[in-house]
Symmetry: C2
Subunit: 203 residues, 2 copies
């Protein structure tokens, strides 16, 4: 088994944090995103979508999509559960994982991809107006998340889950998008500090 | 239990098709998206994100995000399995569900939301250049999907899964975005015809 990794990009990091929380170690093959190695024909033979991360199993089967890779390891090693247990918790973890991914992480990624000068060869065409349109949406979602986190410790309830991992990689990625968490969102700030203090945050 | 539904919009439909495939019937509360009922303060009390669908349990707990609602019912009634069984199949279903959602459905939704005149009060601001930028990406993903479907019956393998449901709602939604599946993609065409012929497609 081998994990094709992408350094500081959010999705590869999501898998590394997940593995660290699970206590799983696997061989890592670095892919140089800055040098566009993921866009090469050699890498397309592994993942035709030319994206990282990609997990290659010993029989050659390839699993891509960071959350799919995480679910693979959750099924192989259920403890500690990071996708919830029982119908309701499974649903709430999925709900918050998706809300945070679609309304926070994806929004920040659009700001970064469409406004950062360094992305002009990666995001073609860059549409600045679309990048700008995402900024207020990210802040609006942070306001909602702040109200939610006033009442509980983690994104989906009292237990740490993959929804928190997505939250951490999203908030860390705000810097690349030249954004930051407004100081008024104290509950988000408290949550972000706790997630950042876990050993897995260094993965 | 009550499901707040949104008629022909893709995500509410995804849940209805899923329930039909599972053989589950629950009370439905229609929400009039055309009249912006989902943006009202009354509906925000159910889902602060002002989106449908939303499932309200008997104790008042609210589950939103169509896939989270589907996972809730998958956990309550595992047969027939629509999210896969066993680590590898679970991972491959998740991989294809996400690829189809992020690169097909989401792309078509961006074309619709940013280019359709009827969406100007729903998508503010409409960014036409971003809508246009999604069209070639949708076609590029369909080309990849066509090569994949040359070798198997369903999106994630030999079994029907939630990835196929996402595929069906995405392809049906192309019409609203004034797009269609190019005739050259014969494997996508065969797959689309088979999904459309299932009784659940009418849900």
């Amino acid at each position: 088994m081998r994990l094709y990794d992408g350094g500081r990009a959010p999705n590869p990091r999501r898998v590394r944090i997940f593995l660290k929380e699970k206590g799983i170690e696997i061989p890592i093959a670095p892919v140089d995103l800055g040098a566009m190695e993921h866009r090469s024909d050699a890498f397309a033979a592994i993942n035709p979508m030319r994206r990282v991360p990609a997990l290659v199993l010993d029989d050659g089967t390839v699993i891509t999509e960071s959350i799919a890779i995480c679910r693979y390891f959750e099924a192989l090693k259920p403890e500690p559960p990071l996708f919830g247990t029982g119908a309701l918790e499974i649903a709430l973890v999925e709900m918050w994982q998706r809300r945070i991914e679609l309304h926070l992480l994806a929004g920040i990624q659009q700001v970064f991809r469409h406004l950062h000068p360094g992305m002009k060869d990666h995001e073609v065409p860059q549409v600045a107006a679309w990048g700008e349109a995402n900024k207020p949406r990210v802040l609006e979602f942070l306001a909602l998340l702040d109200r939610e986190l006033a009442g509980r410790r983690f994104a989906a309830g009292d237990s740490y889950s993959v929804a928190d991992i997505t939250g951490l990689i999203a908030l860390d990625f705000m810097r690349a998008a030249k954004m930051s968490v407004p100081a008024e969102f104290t509950h988000v700030g408290r949550w972000y500090a706790e997630l950042s203090a876990r050993p897995s945050a260094k993965a």
